[in-house]
Symmetry: C2
Subunit: 311 residues, 2 copies
């Protein structure tokens, strides 16, 4: 075994993120907008160091680039290669242990997972914010919303979802697996056609990154979705919208360019949805009780309660 093996997969994940052009361009533009000359900046979860380098190029006098993963050692080399070692300092360790003498003007962090909160990184971020951000300091992203909407996508449900089991397969009947798969409740990553949306999407969490406290993302609530067209409700779709800066919104939803996050499809037992009717949905977003990096999303509509694992 050589040294490289300890990074198995890390570089591919970095490539997946950096090559997501909609994401990387949005962060580059927002950093350009938000960083002012002489800023002290923290970049939490720096990976290759790319956002820290954008910040240094945008005029930051000092950037602290933090990553717990071994790729941090590579970030040091990459920063040198780009001649930015004077202004960027890499901290290879956990966010909880990061401490500096001076206070930061800005904290940058691409901490976003599926439906924003998969990966469970936000509490660490808020801890760093409370320890090192100046009063009145900036956060990038500045706000994050998780969106939910009912959809009608029969092909998705029937070909790539629990509805697949309805068909006979060479005369064998596996149809009881539809209900079982629904009960298991797994979210699927996929791209949802905006035409599938049955209602105007609604936020289920809205987090102001300067004011939020750890745990604020775990919410319950009720939404009244008005159905815009006749159809069959056969699932919900979840995604996030991040306000990176005043002028840069990163919307990962169905009406926008595809990102590596895609959207999260939550299959639901099919039911008729009539134009003008209302779907009264109770929802809960919680940390998964068993897998702490995952979410548990609960959706209740009429008699039906669906509980999903989202990861």
């Amino acid at each position: 075994m050589n040294d490289y093996t300890k990074w198995y997969g890390e570089l591919e994940v970095q490539r997946l993120m950096v090559s997501d052009r909609w994401r990387t361009d949005a962060f580059a533009r927002a950093i350009q907008e938000v960083v002012t000359a002489g800023d002290v900046v923290v970049d939490l979860g720096t990976g290759t160091g790319i956002l820290a380098m954008f910040a240094a190029r945008a005029g930051a006098s000092k950037v602290y680039a933090i990553d717990e993963a071994d790729i941090a050692t590579m970030a040091v080399e990459l920063i040198q290669m780009n001649g930015l070692e004077e202004s960027i300092e890499v901290f290879h360790g956990s966010a909880a242990k990061f401490q500096i003498q001076e206070k930061a003007d800005l904290i940058i962090s691409e901490w976003l997972g599926h439906m924003a909160f998969v990966e469970g990184m936000v509490d660490d971020l808020l801890g760093v914010r409370d320890r090192v951000l100046k009063p009145g300091g900036r956060m990038l992203p500045s706000a994050v919303e998780v969106m939910l909407a009912p959809i009608d996508d029969p092909v998705l449900y029937s070909n790539h979802g629990p509805g697949f089991w309805r068909r006979l397969i060479h005369d064998v009947d596996l149809s009881i697996l539809e209900e079982l798969e629904l009960k298991q409740g797994r979210g699927f990553q996929t791209f949802i056609d905006a035409a599938s949306l049955l209602s105007v999407p609604s936020p289920i969490v809205a987090m102001d990154m300067r004011r939020a406290a750890p745990g604020d993302q775990w919410t319950t609530g009720k939404i009244d979705f008005e159905v815009k067209r006749d159809g069959v409700l056969n699932g919900f779709v979840g995604w996030f919208v991040a306000e990176l800066s005043e002028n840069v919104i990163l919307d990962t939803g169905p009406n926008h360019p595809q990102t590596h996050w895609s959207q999260m499809y939550l299959p639901f037992p099919p039911q008729i949805a009539e134009k003008g009717s209302h779907l009264s949905v109770d929802y809960q977003l919680a940390r998964h009780p068993e897998y702490w990096r995952s979410l548990e999303v609960t959706i209740e509509l009429g008699d039906c309660i669906q509980r999903y694992i989202v990861d």
Copy 2:
């Protein structure tokens, strides 16, 4: 937590396999061809029990359906639902512990992973074969080959492979990651266009399932690939071809319909390949030293040795 959670993901994997029509239809046809009335059949890794049910419908007098995973309890229900509980007996346990009094005429097993041998299930299968198959009994699949070919796919290499790092990203240079990602050597699942093939594919393993011994899949050898057209070698592609029966070949390669296995792309440091020239490749296929369900594929060409993890 309810009972269903212990199957997290299992049903989706089953759906992915069963809904792979090229795969399921091929097994259905081969079972129809190979099973004769009154056969005693073993189905190893039965999952939902679907192949066992095909065998029972094709005339088997008795089918032993084996699975270690919890889905076996569901297979019992599905078999009852299809009225086949008289002829199919589910054994919920490890292959190593499976024992019957009578001998089997036929062993069916869809044990195939990426490049056939990912998942490491074949040794268990050969153990069952040696204990329960009649002399002269049949195996389905009857033979398996792993194929390898050099390819020229610049878009794959540059946009979705290590070559991505060559470009400047908002003026930041991450190009040293190309070499690092190549050294890490991960195989990627993707679909390769047959037009990318630089040479006629060659088998690196050929296993006769009736005669093979455990470990026969771990091979070293040399191939002389003749380059069919001018291009740039920037990777190899691996896949398997399974002979399910005399008349049914399941070829998962670039010239065939897409299956859920896709193909395995092994990126290689780019080099000019001239039409008519020869690429003398030394290869090794081994169990990965650290992750036993994964493969380690080594490809040596000229001065360059690449070692890949394939999973």
